[in-house]
Each structure stands twice: as C-alpha cells, then as structure tokens.
C-alpha cells in the first residue's frame, strides 16, 4: 500500500533521511522506532508531502506520490496526525473536525464520521462548541486523531499519539488505533513508548541517523529486547 524506495530528504542544507526504504501493507500496523533525531518525523512529513524528497520514490496505493502536493496525497486516502497535535486553537472542536474532512464534499458522510469520532471520544461531543485551544493536552490529542480520521483515510500516519497523555488516556488511544485497524485502515506509527508500539504493531522498522537499521516482526522484538536496546540505546 505504501512504499518508500531510497528516500533522501531534509530541511534546507541539512539532509536527514539518507535513503530510507520501507513499506506498509494493506491492513497492516507498522511501527517506526528510533532515538530522537533519527528521522522518524521527517519520514512521516516526507510521505505526506510536507517535505519533498531529494532522491528516491514514494508510491501509495499503486500511485507515484513523490512529487505530489499535500492536498493530492490527502485525496488519495492518506491522513497524517502530526507531532504536537497542531489543532487549530481559535476554532471550535466541531470546526476542527469539519476541516479534517476538507477534501470530502458529501455533507452526510461528514456528519456520520463526526458522529463516529464523538462515539469514540465522548468528551469531544461535550466540548464541541469550545475553542480547541481550551482543551487539555489529552483532549487535544483525541481531537487531532479524530480530525485525521475525518477524511476516511486508507492509511493513517500517527506521530507520537501518546505524547503527554496519562496512562489511562494512552490505553484509550491504543484502543482507538486498534479500532481504526479493525476497520481495515493501515497505520504507520511513530511512538516513543516502545512497549505500546510493539503491542500495537505487527512489524517495526528501526531508524538510526536517517537510515533503516532493522526491519523485524514485533513478536521477535518483544521476545528479544537486547536487539532493540542496542539500537535505541535504552
């Protein structure tokens, strides 16, 4: 479903990804692990076309998206829930969700999906008319995930969804990811919380200094923690 082949990318004069190749299959949950600065967020930003690769190719659903614009990538069915949530602070919860479905023109579909998001996160329904900037960190995280789901993606990129969440909310977000997966959506997950990532994903890539240094079923990584520790320095 998603394939990166030798992707090199970065900011200005700085090259961060040095030829990354990875793939996410139909209905798969894949984790992207690695220490800070390894290029995890850069990988996601390059996939969703916020950054243009300097070399290599990206294919999604059989289409080449290497040089696509971000809105074209969204229309193909890829949603990216960014690092640090990035909700629109001076817009209401409902407006945030509606804008998540900016590429969708079917009003009924938008209403149905918003209903689904409210069912998953009841607190968002309660606070639907409030400014997103007034929500707590955890609620903003739920809003960010909900917003990404509003475009009914086939592949969801999640960047640190557990960041700043209490253990209870973390379990809730994990539950949502499982539910999303159960609906047939593929997930590429960047997560600092290694044990959470290993439980959610069936396969993991380990990134170090902009290179893929391991590609392994998470079952193997869970069984043999030493390999992971060697890469992550933890």
């Amino acid at each position: 479903m998603l394939e990166l082949d030798g992707v090199t990318s970065g900011y200005g004069a700085v090259t961060i990804l040095q030829g990354v190749s990875l793939s996410v299959g139909e209905g798969e949950v894949v984790a992207l692990l690695g220490p800070n600065g390894a290029g995890k967020t850069t990988t996601l930003r390059t996939i969703s076309a916020l950054l243009r690769p300097r070399a290599g190719r990206i294919r999604f659903n059989g289409q080449e998206i290497t040089r696509a614009e971000p809105d074209a990538v969204v229309r193909l069915g890829l949603a990216h829930c960014p690092e640090e949530r990035k909700v629109w602070p001076r817009m209401t919860v409902a407006e945030n969700l509606e804008l998540g479905a900016y590429t969708v023109s079917d009003r009924t579909a938008i209403r149905d999906r918003m209903e689904e998001v409210f069912t998953s996160f009841p607190v968002l329904r309660e606070r639907r008319t409030e400014y997103a900037g007034r929500l707590s960190g955890g609620q903003q995280q739920m809003l960010a995930v909900g917003r990404a789901l509003m475009s009914a993606p086939k592949l969801l990129l999640l960047d640190e969804p557990s960041l700043g969440l209490s253990p209870l909310l973390m379990q809730q977000v994990a539950g949502i990811i499982r539910a999303v997966h159960a609906r047939g959506v593929s997930v590429l997950l960047v997560e600092q919380n290694i044990s959470l990532a290993l439980h959610l994903a069936s396969r993991a890539y380990v990134l170090s200094s902009g290179r893929v240094v391991a590609d392994s079923p998470t079952r193997a990584l869970r069984a043999d923690k030493t390999m992971l520790q060697a890469y992550l320095g933890g």
């Binding site: 969703s48 916020l50 614009e69 971000p70 809105d71 969204v74 229309r75 949603a79 990216h80 829930c81 960014p82 640090e84 949530r85 990035k86 909700v87 629109w88 602070p89 001076r90 817009m91 407006e95 509606e98 804008l99 998540g100 900016y102 590429t103 900037g133 903003q140 917003r147 990404a148 475009s151």
Partner: protein, 293 residues
C-alpha cells in the same frame, strides 16, 4: 447649536471612519493573518480610487458598473502581486518582505503619477442631488452611499470569514499552516485568495474616498501608516477590532479637527494608539498573547 455641531462632526467622522475601517479590514487580513507588513496597502487604496475615476470620468461608465469592474481589476492586481512577488518569499523573514512592499508602494505611486497625472481625482457617482437634512445635520448623497457600501462590504467580509468553507480554510491556514496542509487545504491558493481580498477591500475604500473627497497618489503612504494605526488600535488579528478602530479614529480626528485644531489632526491617531496601548497592550479587541498548541 453646539449639539448640532457635535452631531455634524460625528457624522463626518463616521464617513472617514468607514474609509479607515475598510482599509484596515483589508490590511488586517494581510498583516494580521498572513503576517505581511504591507506598506503598499495605501498605494492599492489610491489605485482603486484612480481606476474608478478613470472609469467614471474618462470612460463615462456609470458608477454601478464602474465599481464591480474596478474591484475585479483590484482582485487581479492582488493575485498578480501575491503570485509574482509574495509567494516567492513565503518562508522569508518579515524584514525582506517589508522592504519589497515598500518598493512596490514606490513603484505603484510613481506609475500612477505617470499614468494619471499629478492632479487630485474624484469619482463620479451620479449622486449629486441635494443633501439630506436631519435637523441641523447635513449629509450629502455621496456620503450616505459611502456609509451604505462600506457597511455591506464589512458585513460580507465577516460572513465570508466566519461562516463559509473558504473562510474556515483561511483561518486554518494562518492559525496552523502545517495542520491545514495535512487536512488537504491548498495553502498557496488560500494565500492568493486572502491577499486578493485585502487588495480589493483597499481598492473599495479608495473608490469611496474618491466618491466623497478626492484621491491623489501622494496620500498613499500616509494612508498606509494610518491603516496600521487602526489595526494596532483595534488589536492585531482582530477583524472586528479593525472596523471599530477605523470608526474610532475617524470620529476622533473629526471631533478634534472640528473643535480644537485641524493642524494636528493626523497626530490624533498616534496619540490615541499610545493611550490605548498603555492600558490595553493588545489593542481594543485583540486577544492577549496566549500559548497555542
């Protein structure tokens, strides 16, 4: 008699305030939302008046046909400036962008002097009938027109931004550009649309100024500075603040000019801004600086 004077000056102030409000509304979109310090805003304001003057006087178009035509041209000018200059500098620091708008202003002012001459110009409205009398207060037909058109334009802008999909996309792009891109909002198109809207509002203010008074290219730069005063007064980023600030400045200048001295009229706005910022550092309706995210 005194009451009549106050009302008359206040009414004059509202008319001037409408020009300020429209200009500031446009500048507020460009500065408050796009973060572009647009010193060419005054030149675009004058350009609207100049084009409308040409259209009504030289081409003999009726006012109601000239206005949409000029607004369309202003929109195209906005698209051209954004596409040709500003879009290339989207990630640049605010200072080089500001220098470019100062250069653009000089270019536009001198081009207008060359094309349209150095005489002040008026816009022919066809509303030259007798003025209305409300007790001691006199108001000309063209002033009623200016107030009416301004009110409609301000209301339409508010509806556009607060209640349409395009307006929501605009707010999203300027509050959190990355999230907007990820939602599939075409960022470049929103920038172009917003700048063109700001340019068109400036042009409309110029048309109305020409309909009531006269326009002249040399007023472009003082007008731009005044528009900045208004949005700082009203609170940067607040569109209602821009409108309120504009009306307030118009009133203050008119009352000061009427009762105290016309010599210092242009200083009134600056004194007002200093006074208000002392007590409300983020302007009348500006949100206090808050943590976002």
């Amino acid at each position: 008699m005194l009451l009549g004077d106050i009302l008359q000056f206040a009414l004059n102030g509202v008319v001037t305030g409408c020009f300020y409000a429209l200009m500031a509304l446009g500048l507020s979109l460009v500065f408050g939302l796009m973060n572009i310090v647009n010193f060419a805003h005054g030149a675009l304001f004058v350009l609207g008046g100049m084009l409308a003057s040409e259209a009504t006087n030289r081409l003999g178009l009726p006012f109601w046909a000239a206005v949409p035509a000029v607004l369309l041209v202003m929109w195209a000018v906005g698209v051209a400036i954004e596409g040709g200059l500003l879009a290339r500098m989207r990630d640049a620091h605010i200072l080089p962008v500001t220098l470019v708008t100062i250069g653009l202003s000089t270019f536009l002012v001198n081009t207008m002097l060359m094309l349209f001459g150095t005489e002040p110009k008026n816009v022919e409205t066809g509303f030259s009938g007798p003025p209305f009398f409300l007790g001691d207060v006199i108001i000309s037909q063209s002033r009623v027109l200016a107030i009416g058109v301004s009110a409609v334009a301000i209301l339409a802008t508010w509806v556009l931004i607060a209640h349409t999909r395009a307006g929501r996309a605009m707010r999203a792009v300027f509050q959190q550009p990355e999230a907007a891109a990820l939602a599939g909002i075409p960022i470049a198109r929103v920038h172009r649309f917003t700048f063109a809207l700001g340019t068109t509002l400036a042009g409309l203010a110029g048309i109305l100024l020409g309909a009531v008074f006269v326009v002249h290219p040399n007023t472009a730069e003082p007008a731009a500075v005044k528009a900045f005063v208004v949005i700082i007064l009203g609170g940067i980023g607040s569109l209602p603040g821009a409108v309120l600030g504009g009306l307030l400045l118009g009133l203050a200048e008119s009352l000061w000019g009427g009762f105290v001295s016309t010599g210092y009229m242009d200083a009134v706005g600056f004194v007002l801004v200093i006074a208000i910022l002392l007590f409300r550092p983020s302007g009348l309706l500006g949100a206090p600086a808050a943590r976002e995210g």
